[in-house]
């Protein structure tokens, strides 16, 4: 009874939040994973309860695109190749591969000892069947087919050799093939279940798919026959965990109680304040485990605002640059996300392969320079509330505001900072589909967006003129940039592509087409019962194969 009373009272009082610094990501694709120095040796057994957000889409990796399905299913499927944290490719289901001199045909030699969870053998025909399923327009693939690029056809040369033919050279292909969306499914299961396949998935991975309760839970079980783990994993043979139960938490407020009550052992996408409370409060009561934070840098595009370069006044380079000089980005990120959160310096997050670290020196916070640029562009003080004017028109910018990623807080700070420069920023709260349409029509000056991916070719979707009618929110039509983007897709060797991407990023920042805010961080919390948890290079997907639990 007393405990009850104190619980109620404690709810009414504010709990002091201890400051727990998130570790910064190392540049060049490596992540800083806190070294959970543990003397515990791996032990088999136990059920891991993993909490994640509610997937909006279905859960078939060939068809659907959400990262939640990748989190849950990357243990069920193996891929032809595996990418390590530095971006190098290792054998997965394919032992080795060669590329034809014209760069258009990959020949993969497959492992011979692999079986699907239903006992059928993995071979070249299975690969062909999978790739054809993804490429078939009737499948309506929302992501996997785009990872294949200019895919033409695949054919089995012999039982364990498969040729993948492209219409033109495409360097990001291996990156695509390393993702769970191009995982290998059992052709027998595809035939048997047809359009119900997503509820009965069969792969070759260390965990087998047991069941999916729509919008509730997804259950996996250990695959005892697993003997083909890639060399990048920390052990070989079957996984340690008996079972993994994923539970979906739609509301951010529900995640902390789930961790504290022990209903979840690991929780993804913890709100920062809740995560701090988890590790800061005295939670080490008798019998209760402690907690560990695992922030993971997510590669891809940073959270940034695209500046619509065709909508006046942002069609003037000086005004765009003024926005960049006039925003204290480090201060903004620190205020919203905490003092050690990574500030973005360019269109690519620092953890992405090919991200140009030299951009950090560009656009330091310089409000005087911003005012000077605005004055040069013809905007003068007129006296009505301090907003600048030109030809009798006030300097008004319209920004799209969405509800994710603390954008409302960021927007409020930008409004205040820019008002001091004489800019009136008006924010328009929109739901996601309405925001996409607004970006498409180009009705607003500022469009916030974020995008995950490991290959810098993702810049194409946002800056190539072919995508003006698509996701090119800044409405960029720059022939030099188009040329570099096209060229950078071709050579297979990374050191031939890297200089082009440096030029591309340089041009984007010189032209001030984006206002970068913050590199994305996937903040996970785990109970200290959980050992060996690490995330793959994509940033979102845990490698549950190497995880073990303390005995209960």
């Amino acid at each position: 009874m007393r405990r009850l009373l104190w619980s109620v009272l404690s709810l009414i009082c504010l709990l002091p939040a201890a400051c727990v610094p998130a570790t910064l990501p190392a540049p060049g694709g490596a992540q800083a994973i806190p070294a959970a120095v543990t003397t515990s040796t791996p032990a088999s057994g136990g059920t891991l309860h993993y909490g994640l957000t509610l997937p909006v889409s279905g859960i078939d990796p060939h068809i659907h695109a959400s990262s939640e399905l990748g989190i849950a299913l990357s243990g069920v499927y193996d891929t032809l190749v595996v990418q390590d944290l530095l971006g190098a490719f290792h054998p997965g289901l394919a032992e080795s591969w060669t590329l034809s001199p014209d760069g258009r045909t990959y020949t993969f030699k497959l492992r011979r000892d692999v079986r699907f969870h239903d006992g059928t053998p993995f071979n070249a025909d299975a690969v062909v069947r999978n790739l054809n399923r993804v490429a078939d327009p009737a499948t309506h693939s929302q992501k996997a087919v785009f990872l294949l690029g200019p895919f033409d056809h695949a054919q089995a040369v012999d039982e364990f050799t498969v040729e993948v033919a492209l219409r033109q050279p495409y360097a990001p292909l291996l990156d695509g093939l390393s993702q769970v969306y191009l995982g290998m499914a059992s052709p027998a299961a595809l035939d048997k279940w047809g359009d119900q396949y997503q509820l009965h998935q069969v792969g070759t991975g260390p965990f087998r798919f047991v069941g999916y309760q729509e919008r509730q839970t997804l259950v996996l079980e250990r695959n005892a026959a697993y003997a083909w783990a890639p060399e990048t994993r920390r052990h070989q043979g079957p996984a340690y965990l008996d079972r993994v139960e994923f539970r979906f938490f739609a509301d951010a407020a529900a995640r902390l109680p789930a961790m504290l009550s022990g209903q979840a052992d690991v929780m993804g996408e913890m709100p920062r304040k809740d995560a701090e409370r988890l590790t800061g409060q005295g939670n080490q009561s008798a019998g209760r485990p402690g907690y560990l934070l695992l922030p993971v840098a997510v590669p891809g595009q940073a959270v940034q605002f695209f500046l619509n370069s065709t909508l006046p006044p942002l069609d003037d380079l000086r005004v765009r640059q003024a926005l960049l000089y006039g925003t204290d980005r480090a201060g903004l990120v620190s205020a919203v996300f905490g003092p050690t959160s990574p500030v973005a310096t360019g269109p690519l997050a620092a953890a992405t392969r090919g991200a140009d670290q030299g951009l950090a020196a560009k656009y330091p916070y310089d409000p005087d320079k911003a005012r000077q640029l605005l004055a040069e562009a013809g905007w003068t003080a007129a006296g009505t509330g301090g907003i600048l004017e030109r030809d009798g028109k006030p300097l008004v910018l319209k920004g799209v505001q969405m509800s994710w990623g603390e954008l409302p807080a960021i927007g409020t700070i930008l409004q205040a900072e820019w008002r001091k420069l004489g800019i009136d920023l008006q924010l328009d709260p929109l739901t996601y589909p309405a925001a996409l349409e607004a970006g498409h029509k180009g009705t607003h000056h500022l469009m916030p967006f974020v995008f995950s991916g490991t290959d810098p070719d993702l810049l194409r979707a946002f800056f190539h003129s072919a995508n003006l009618d698509g996701f090119n929110w800044s409405k960029v039509s720059d022939p030099a940039l188009d040329g570099w983007l096209d060229q950078a897709e071709i050579p297979a060797a990374w050191d031939q592509r890297a200089p082009l991407y440096t030029q591309i990023q340089g041009r984007i920042m010189n032209q001030a087409w984006v206002l970068p805010i913050r590199d994305q961080v996937n903040l996970n919390a785990a109970s200290t019962r959980v050992h060996g948890l690490a995330y793959d290079v994509q940033g979102w997907f845990p490698v549950l194969y190497d995880v073990w639990l303390d005995a209960q």
Partner: protein, 307 residues
């Protein structure tokens, strides 16, 4: 009575058809294109977006889409979810039991609680008990389910570890959502019960019953309560209908499956067939509940009658 039922059925059918048409039109007027939303995570080219839109049949003339939908509906086919790929009927069939479970559990909490609060408030209006009953009722109306739900979670899951904070695995997971939602629903029922009872207690037939020397309890139950029950039943029916429509906030907070959250997500993401299907099912539940309430009201109080 049968002609009454017959007329009610016809009205119900017309209502549902009207709702179906309005939803079909409105959800297509909202800004945003499902194909674009589906491909936003892949950075696909505009050609790919257009191709997907075409494959999904979203670029056909509205009249064609409407007729296709009506003919499919006549066959009992509600279409396929755009985002999920699964049949809408399957999705609804999976989520409906959870909504029914929560609605009935919350109603089972709300009705006795609300009636008791209202009766206490009406019987002893100026006493401490009566006032306390009304304060509790107002609290039910005013306090958001989100807040009271979180409070329950903190106390019963985190501190006491008696109940699970999320999910719908067992009866234990139903307790807190039912309490939070039931308390919120009991509020309006309590207030209306009190108002209705107080109004009835000054009616001529109650005064006459008292004058005839009938015991207080008999007056209360046979005369006052029976007549006060009619508006109560109507409101209770509306509340039940609302609960059946899916209590979105409760479902979200407790990570429970259910029609409410399914519908809200479908609207937010422009999953057109799912929106149409779920709205139709919820509207049908409302119509059935209200028809049952009207029949019940007519039986309870001949004065209300069946018009």
């Amino acid at each position: 009575m049968w002609s009454y039922l017959g007329r009610r059925c016809l009205t119900a059918f017309m209502t549902l058809l009207g709702i179906a048409t309005v939803v079909f039109a409105v959800v297509r007027l909202l800004p945003g294109d499902p194909a674009q939303v589906m491909l936003a995570r892949s950075g696909a080219s505009p050609l790919a977006v257009a191709a997907l839109r075409s494959e999904l049949g979203l670029d056909r003339p509205l009249a064609v889409q409407y007729l296709d939908w009506l003919t499919a509906l006549a066959r009992g086919d509600l279409g396929r979810s755009l985002f999920n790929g699964r049949a809408v009927v399957d999705l609804i069939r999976e989520q409906l039991p959870y909504t029914l479970e929560l609605a009935l559990a919350a109603f089972a909490v709300a009705l006795p609680l609300g009636l008791t609060l209202g009766a206490v408030g009406a019987r002893w209006p100026n006493s401490a008990a009566g006032r306390a009953a009304m304060v509790v009722s107002v609290a039910g109306v005013a306090l958001p389910v989100f807040w009271s739900g979180l409070l329950l979670i903190w106390v019963f899951s985190v501190q006491l570890a008696w109940l699970p904070p999320a999910g719908a695995d067992s009866w234990r997971a139903l307790v807190m959502p039912a309490l939070a939602l039931g308390f919120a629903t009991a509020g309006p029922i309590g207030r209306l019960t009190r108002a209705s009872l107080m109004e009835v207690s000054v009616q001529p037939y109650v005064v006459v019953a008292h004058a005839k020397g009938l015991p207080e309890r008999q007056v209360f139950v046979n005369h006052a309560l029976r007549n006060a029950a009619v508006p109560l039943l109507t409101i209770a029916g509306l509340e039940l209908g609302f609960l059946l429509g899916g209590a979105v906030v409760t479902e979200t907070l407790f990570s429970r499956p259910g029609l409410g959250k399914l519908l809200v997500d479908a609207i937010l993401w422009r999953d057109l067939p799912l929106v149409q299907g779920v709205v139709l099912v919820i509207a049908s539940l409302y119509v059935i509940t209200n028809a049952a309430v009207d029949v019940g009201a007519g039986w309870l109080s001949p004065q209300a009658g069946w018009q």
